[in-house]
């Protein structure tokens, strides 16, 4: 564990005993980092965020990182991920970056309001000219929580309970900045907001990012978050996103990960939906090292609807683990869930989806589907679609399949002069097409099709023809 100090050198924090790490509690080095740098962390953050740190520390100390024996983390060895030494930028040093240099936009021709978060710091030097509708607040979580302490305190950490999850606890303990999006009552943000998360460092580096989204009653917004890594070092990024969607409001969230095989992403997304709200989430993993996405949706108001989709294309030693939990707490809610994986080489995929229908949550309609393609012998897929139901007047179903491409279809195409490779790609694209077609933004949809095609051909999905890159 390193801290970047003022001289911009990376110095080890000295007397860290190696025995603190390892199986007996990999969290120890993070706990001691917090104890030693408590003041420093607090100084470079806001009061609202600082208020929860000590409690988070207690919870992390108590629970420790989950071992592989913990059901929720059975397929992702969190302890091992946290074991290596990473640098942490507690002092909030400016890391020189020009996001426009570092980032080649993957979604051209899409008119978005573009924002950057570099590591965990909101990049406020190149704000888009496009103005957001009146009343909408978007910017650095640290700064805005100092500006609107009441608003942020009312929401921050309310869904992401530190006692329930060690990664959330760690993030709450260490995160100093991130993004706040606030859309007041009845305001419709027409233009999609694009957020580019860039990981940038010269040494192995850890980032704790925090996002808070508040969509008030009858408001609407769409957020596209892209993850990119610019440097060939090991990154460990934890991310906690809390989303509050008010009565009759609508929110779409697209997450697109295109990092590097040396990047570990641990993302916890919490959503709470009020009466008649609609949420669409699409979590796409194209390139990454270890990816673990936990999505917890609470349908707290009658008539709420969630579309939860995800897809992963993984090869080499990539590991993608999606964990979802949908809580039907009240009656008349609907949830549709669709996750698809394509696993090549020695990639591992894991999916665990639980739908809980509480007592009294009558007229629930819940569908969950997980379909997976294993392309090689070494590829591994673990899937657990789960239903827990305590109400009788409900319609719930789940389905999961693991299989290969249909030989008849391959043969049919080859017979008609389409090469084996091409036929295979066509089928794979059609397979993931179902997830992409659910995307509400046309430009993004086209772009995704294109990206996926490139991904299947083994090319990185960088382009050079959009306005941002010029």
């Amino acid at each position: 564990m390193n801290n970047i100090n003022n001289s911009n050198n990376i110095t080890p924090r000295g007397q860290q005993a190696p025995s603190l790490r390892g199986r007996a509690g990999g969290e120890a080095q993070y706990l001691s980092l917090y104890r030693e740098c408590r003041e420093l962390i607090a100084r470079h953050s806001s009061e609202v965020m600082n208020a929860l740190r000590d409690e988070a520390y207690g919870h992390l100390e108590q629970a420790g990182f989950p071992t592989k024996r913990v059901e929720e983390y059975k397929y992702t060895d969190v302890e091992a991920l946290f074991a290596p030494d990473y640098g942490v930028n507690i002092n909030r040093l400016d890391i020189p970056v020009n996001p426009y240099d570092a980032f080649k936009c993957d979604v051209p021709n899409m008119s978005t309001s573009l924002y950057f978060v570099v590591n965990d710091t909101f990049y406020n030097r190149a704000l888009p000219k496009a103005t957001l509708p009146k009343g909408v607040i978007l910017g650095s979580l640290k700064e805005l929580s100092a500006q609107y302490p009441e608003l942020v305190a009312r929401h921050y950490g309310q869904l992401a309970r530190t006692e329930d999850d060690a990664i959330t606890a760690l993030n709450t303990m260490l995160a100093q900045d991130g993004l706040l999006l606030y859309v007041p009552k009845g305001v419709v943000v027409e233009k999609p907001i694009q957020l580019v998360n860039i990981l940038r460092a010269d040494v192995n580096f850890m980032v704790n990012r925090r996002v808070l989204v508040i969509i008030e009653d009858n408001a609407q917004a769409r957020l596209l978050a892209c993850d990119h890594t610019t440097d060939e070092v090991d990154f460990l990024a934890t991310q906690v996103i809390e989303v509050f969607v008010g009565r009759g409001a609508s929110f779409e969230l697209y997450e697109l990960e295109e990092s590097t095989p040396r990047t570990t992403r641990l993302s916890n997304l919490y959503v709470q939906q009020e009466v008649d709200s609609r949420v669409h989430i699409n979590d796409i993993t194209l390139v990454g090292g270890v990816t673990r996405n936990t999505t917890r949706v609470a349908l707290a108001g009658r008539g709420a609807h969630i579309d939860l989709c995800g897809m992963a294309i993984a090869d080499k030693q990539q590991h993608v683990d999606n964990h979802t939990f949908i809580d039907h707490a009240v009656s008349d809610c609907t949830s549709h869930e669709l996750y698809k994986y394509v696993l090549d080489d020695e990639a591992t995929g894991a999916f665990a989806g639980k739908v809980l229908v509480r007592e009294g949550a009558q007229h629930t309609d819940s569908q969950q589907t997980n379909r997976n393609l294993c392309l090689t012998r070494q590829a591994r897929m673990y899937t657990q679609p789960q239903l827990e139901i305590y109400a009788d007047d409900v319609k719930c179903s789940h389905g999961a399949t693991v299989g290969q491409l249909n030989e008849d279809a391959l043969f049919y195409m080859q017979q008609r002069g389409i090469s084996f490779v091409e036929a295979r790609q066509l089928l794979m694209r059609a397979f993931v097409g179902e997830v992409i077609d659910g995307v509400g933004l046309e430009a993004l949809r086209d772009r995704l099709h294109h990206l996926v095609e490139k991904r299947f051909r083994g090319e990185l999905g960088k382009c050079g023809d959009c306005t941002v890159c010029k």
Binding site: T383, S397, T401
Partner: protein
């Protein structure tokens, strides 16, 4: 004004149904007054030695028990199941009860207490061969810790088929028992497997020699009678090359306010081209409508398809027990071997069931089918938990799973926890699950045609479970259908 009145009337009659049906008496709940030799309560190495000595076991079996016991001491009760299990005091149970021995004076082993005979008659299990239908079934009757009688033993032996209690097998065929005992379910397998391996009492042993088709259904009937005892039966079935056997298991227990523990192990070995069909109608005492009493049923059942083209089929109808913890599994290591699991699990009142299967594909072109139907009523909890695992070498493995849940009433729970671990790209694995209540349309359709709501539910539920019931041997299918109508129609959708 008429409308609400009607509704009230309906509601009242509905409630009456519910009450009358949930109060349905458990007709096997009687107790037999019979002198039973019961060893003092408690569990220790000494008790393990006593059980072994009582059964006159050889040294190696005692060692096996002791190893298991010492291992069990290192374990903790598993918590992963979706069950609320009250703490079990293992020192408050007696681990051996023998109703065949009168306390005063020695008696010949063949002589069965007429009270015991009467008990099995009352349960509808004929222990006298002449009373059985021609070509009927051979029965091994086990009461508490001891096998009371095994019928048709001699007839079967003429064909080379061994069917006897496991204690007898240990005496008569030690080599066979030694070779297979614990080879499918290791004593280290889980908490209850370790406990059972330490203190197991009677159960059945079946050996079907090469090329033999067992001419009749074999069956074991388990009866708990003595109070404050646990039953720890152990069954071992070996089907040698090209053989076939259909095996049935039934069980009941008296109605008591305290809970009784039943922790069994069933091991099945299936060799080349052999086929075993194992059917269970589980009807342990489920406890009363307030959730008081009932049997805790913690069972490890596993079959190993060792040979090529071997086949193992599990069929179970689970209606009894306060708590069921049971996962009949198939290890498919022979090429082209097949595993099947058909299950109907019914829970009512405060019953809890966490049941399902494991299909472990290791050989090439192995196939498995899982059909599970859960029905929950009252305040019960019913979970399906299953694992489909495809090993790296299991080319062409194929699995189809379907698990449906039916909820009757709004205070019960129905859950599915399927796991799929796939390590081979040629595998095709499918899982489907649905949860629903009986549709209003179906009920309305039946009502319209003059079928009472109560009967309509019976019809629909029977239709729902038919896929599984059809897999049962005839006598059992009739019994299972009756059981369904008794334990099931607890509520009106």
């Amino acid at each position: 004004m008429e409308q609400p009145q009607d509704n009230n009337l309906n509601a009242r009659t509905d409630n009456q149904y519910v009450r009358s049906l949930t109060e349905e008496k458990y007709k096997y709940g009687f107790t037999t007054e019979v002198d039973t030799e019961v060893i003092p309560v408690g569990l220790s190495e000494e008790v393990v030695r006593i059980i072994s000595a009582k059964k006159g076991e050889p040294e190696w079996l005692l060692d096996f028990r002791l190893k298991a016991y010492r291992y069990w001491l290192t374990l903790e009760m598993p918590q992963w199941a979706h069950l609320r299990i009250p703490e079990i005091d293992y020192q408050a149970i007696s681990y051996y009860a023998d109703p065949t021995k009168k306390k005063e004076g020695p008696k010949s082993l063949d002589e069965i207490d007429p009270e015991v005979m009467k008990t099995f008659d009352k349960l509808g299990i004929p222990l006298e061969e002449r009373l059985a239908l021609s070509g009927g079934m051979a029965v091994d009757a086990v009461m508490d810790s001891v096998s009371v009688k095994t019928t048709f033993k001699e007839t079967l032996l003429e064909k080379g088929i061994i069917f006897c209690s496991i204690s007898e097998a240990v005496r008569e065929y030690p080599d066979l028992v030694k070779q297979y005992l614990g080879s499918v379910v290791n004593y280290r397998d889980n908490y209850f497997a370790a406990l059972n391996s330490a203190v197991f009492s009677d159960g059945s042993f079946v050996y079907i020699p090469k090329g033999t088709r067992c001419p009749m259904e074999l069956s074991t009937y388990f009866r708990i009678n003595a109070a404050n005892t646990g039953q720890f039966e152990r069954t071992l079935i070996v089907a040698d090359d090209d053989s076939y056997v259909s095996y049935l298991e039934g069980c009941t227990a008296p109605m008591r306010d305290e809970n009784q523990l039943h922790a069994a192990i069933v091991e099945i070995v299936v060799m080349d081209r052999a086929e075993v069909k194992y059917s269970t109608v589980q009807n342990w005492y489920p406890g009363d409508a307030e959730g008081k009493g009932g049997v805790y049923n913690f069972v490890t059942k596993r079959g190993h398809c060792r040979g090529v083209d071997s086949k193992l089929s599990w069929t179970q109808v689970e209606t009894g027990s306060a708590i069921t913890w049971k996962y009949p599994s198939c290890v498919l290591s022979g090429d082209n071997s097949q595993g099947e699991f058909y299950s109907v699990a019914v829970t009512n009142n405060y019953q809890q069931a966490d049941t399902g299967t494991k299909m472990i594909h290791l050989g090439r072109n192995t196939k498995s089918t899982i059909i599970s139907k859960g029905i929950s009523a009252g305040k019960s909890e019913n979970s399906y938990r299953g694992l489909v695992k495809v090993g790296e070498k299991a080319d062409g493995a194929r699995n189809y799973s379907q698990c449906d849940s039916l909820l009757l009433g709004s205070h019960c729970g129905a859950h599915t926890f399927p796991y799929m671990d796939i390590k081979n790209e040629t595998a095709v694995v499918e899982h489907e699950a649905t949860t629903s209540k009986i549709s209003e349309d179906q009920l309305f359709y039946c009502n319209q045609r003059g079928i009472k709501t109560e009967d309509a539910i019976g019809l629909i539920v029977n239709g729902y479970a038919k896929e599984v019931i059809n897999k049962l041997p005839m006598e059992f299918a009739v019994e299972a259908q009756k059981l369904l109508s008794v334990s099931l129609e607890g509520s009106v959708g």
